[in-house]
Structure formats: C-alpha cells, structure tokens
Amino acid sequence: MDITELLHRYPAERRYMLAVLQDIQERYQFLPKEALCQTSGYFGVPLSKLYGMATFYKAFSLKAKGKNIIRVCDGTACHIRSSTVLLEEIERLLHLKPGDTSVDGVFSLETVSCLGSCALAPVLVVNEEYYGSVTRTMVGEILNHYGPAMGEVPVWDVGSAFEENLEGNGGSAIGDRLAWDGGNADEWA
C-alpha cells in the first residue's frame, strides 16, 4: 500500500489531514518527507502547515524508526519506581538514548509520559506488548525476544552484577536502592 492509496481512502478535506498522518505513521513507523509532500498536494495545504502538525504531536516521528519500538514509561508512578534504571540498562545493552534508533535498525527507544497502567509501574512496552513491574534484570530478557532471529546468538549481554540484588522486588526503588544515586550501579557491585 503506497501513499497515494492511503490518501485516497479519505476525501481531500482538511479535517482528514491528521488521520492521514496517523495512517502514514502506522504504515512506515515514521513520516517520510516525500509522504508529507504528497499529502500537502492532496489536501492543497502548504507543506509548512503539515510540518508544523507533524512536529506538534509526539505520536509522529520524522526520523525513520527501528523494526521494534521500545517505549519506557516515565510518568510519575513509573519514574518513582525507577524507570530511569530501565533506561540506563537499555543504554548499557543497546547504547541507545531516548529518541535514538540502533544502527542495525532493530530497535528504537522512546519515553512516554504515562501509559495508564501505573499499578504495574515501571512499565515498558515493546511494539504492542506491555511488560509490567520490570526490573533491571528483566530488560535484557525482554529485549532478547525481539533481537536477532531465533537460533542466532543474542548480541546482548544479559549477565549483570546485581541480579541477586534486584530480583523479585517489582522494581520498586525501596528494594534496589539504585534510584537514590541516580542508578550509579558500580557502587553496589
């Protein structure tokens, strides 16, 4: 399904622009420049307005995204329950900062403000799959589901010096103490 087809599912009226952008985002995981130009032509709206729209909403990305999108919730509840630790762990394993895409195009990392599942904090979502009460150790395990194809050797080192410290406490900051020093893990090793 190419852009033209996506466009022609809607009448050429301005009110459908947002829906079209959402469809394009869903189809390509980002908004290609070429697609925005075509959309601008179809609706007869200046490209600048579409660019303004695309940069306004967090749901849109103008950069190509990886095959799997990791969303780490950084809402209040998750933040208190050490979502930053998860981000650090992902950075350690994949060398990704929020907003980045891995060089091999397998993963993209994003933070979101709240997923509405605060009881499960800290929450991590990969594509459409939700993981609740995530601990530092779980991150590597989760990522291994999505990385290289089955049978290949995983590229991520899951082994971690503090597995025993972190097990089974639901990732709460009280248990693993790592939240207090901003997760500076080496001190506790």
Binding site: K33, V45, P46, L47, S48, Y51, T55, F56
Partner: protein
C-alpha cells in the same frame, strides 16, 4: 451605537473591533501582534482593556463605586478583554489605561522580556511601563521572537504559506518545513516587515536577498534604482494578478516612478490643442 472609551463617546458599527474604534478616535492602545491588514491574533496580550456593559455600570453605580476616589474599589464587574479581537455588539464603557490594566500589562511585559530580551520594541514598551529585566525566567539570550504568529499570518495572506510554527511548548519556533529553504518562499519579506520585534533576519546585498536560508535575485526600478522586490515575488504576483502594469516596454518601475510616468503621460495627452487620433 455608542461606545464610551476613557470617557470619550465614540460612534461604532455593531461588530467592529474595539481596537479599530479606539484607533479611529486617536485613543492609543499599545499593541505588538496587530497589523491592520490581518485579522487580530490576540497573542501578545498587550492590548487588554477593561469593558463594562450597561448592566454592570448600573450595578457599580448602585454600589456607589463608580468614582475612582472612593477608597475601596470593586472592579470585579469589569471584564478584561483583548481589544484587537473584541467585537462591540452593545453599548459599553471601556477603560484603556486604568491602574489595574497597567499592572497587568507590566506582568505581560515582564514575561515577554524574559522570552525575547533582545527585542527593541518590547524594550521600549517595558521602559514606558517601568518594567525591569527579570533574570529569574531567562530564555535564550539572543532571542527576539515572541511567537505572536504575525509572520505566519502574513505569509498565509500572501498565499505562499512558506512558514509555520513548529514543535510545541518550550521548543516552539517559527520555521520553514524541515528547517530547509522553503520551495514556496518568494522572498517577499512580508514576514520580516510585519514582525513587531525584528526577529526575522534578512540581507539585501549586491542585488541578492537572503531570507530563511534561501537566496533571491533582487529586481530594481529601471528609473531610480530602488529595490522593487525579488524576481520570484514579481513572477508570483504576475501569476496571481495577470501581467503587471509596471512591466512597460521592458521597463520595471517602482510605485513612485510609475506615478511620475502616468502623470507625465496625462500631461502630454491633456496639452491644449492635442486631439486623439
């Protein structure tokens, strides 16, 4: 209908905006984001005024609080509105410079100054209102833009729509698509000329204009050498309005020289004794 502004009775059509009525009657209301040719935006909040309709006035009078000199004043009855987008539909009384308004404008100016410390227009207004630069909310030191949206409105009015506000919240800014030279920009400088704080830089050098990172060829008047506009701009206008009257025998004339030429031509045809062949 009648509108009383600062005690002066003014005539107004129903639906007219307060700012227009005040301007027509030489009552000065400060503005930043207003431009005659464009619809009011109400983004700068400097043109706020107090409005009271007949009922509120009667109430105030009943409570004996219409006089300014009666100690405790209850002005909660008065609405604060932006004059540039407030249509007058009933007989009202308006204050444009009360103490309350001046205080509110001071607050607005403090914030605008924090946002755009480099802007001369805001600096001048701030001086007038006795507002000091407050470093508690410092924004970028080199910022001039107050995000009023006038430039975007002007560009849309031109029909080019080359710029828009992009991003959101603290990172919001005015930009061309993808921060690249815009295909639809014609270098007409409408945006820069309406900008109240001179935040849009452009250069006219050696017959070339640079604006929004795009370079244009300037066209000058064949008689006096005054810059008329850019080549793209004249082509664009020509496309929209049909062949332009100032292209005459390969000559490009500015407005002034065109008037001179027309006048001389009229003189020539109106000489006594000339007959039209």
């Amino acid at each position: 209908m009648k509108v009383i502004i600062d005690g002066l009775t003014c005539e107004a059509e129903s639906g007219e905006y307060l700012l227009q009525i005040a301007k027509r009657n030489h009552i000065n209301i400060p503005t930043l984001c207003h431009e005659e040719a464009l619809a009011g935006l109400a983004t700068c909040r400097i043109c706020i005024v107090e409005v009271m309709d007949a009922r509120q006035k009667a109430e105030e009078r009943a409570f004996g609080q219409l006089n300014d000199d009666c100690g405790e004043k209850d002005d909660r009855k008065r609405k604060i509105v932006t004059a540039c987008v407030y249509p007058v539909v009933a007989e009202i009384e308006v204050l444009t410079n009360s103490e309350k308004l001046r205080d509110m404008r001071k607050a607005v100016l403090t914030l605008l100054m924090a946002r755009a410390p480099q802007s001369d227009a805001i600096g001048m207004l701030a001086k007038e209102y006795g507002v000091e630069q407050n470093h508690r909310w410092s924004s970028r030191e080199d910022e001039k833009c107050i995000l009023c949206g006038l430039c975007v409105a002007a560009c849309d009015k031109m029909g080019t729509g080359a710029i828009a506000t992009v991003n959101r919240g603290t990172t919001r800014t005015v930009s061309t698509p993808f921060e690249e030279p815009a295909e639809s920009c014609i270098g007409c400088c409408s945006c820069a000329s309406v900008c109240p704080s001179g935040a849009i830089p452009f250069t006219d050098l050696h017959g070339k204009r640079t604006i929004w990172n795009k370079e244009f060829e300037l066209v000058s008047c064949s008689w006096c050498g005054e810059v008329i506009g850019t080549k793209e701009q004249l082509e664009y206008v020509g496309k929209r309005n049909g062949p332009s009257a100032d292209v005459h025998g390969g000559e490009m004339l500015c407005e002034h020289c065109r008037a001179v030429r027309e006048a001389s031509r009229l003189k020539w045809v109106s000489q006594p004794g000339r007959t039209f062949a």
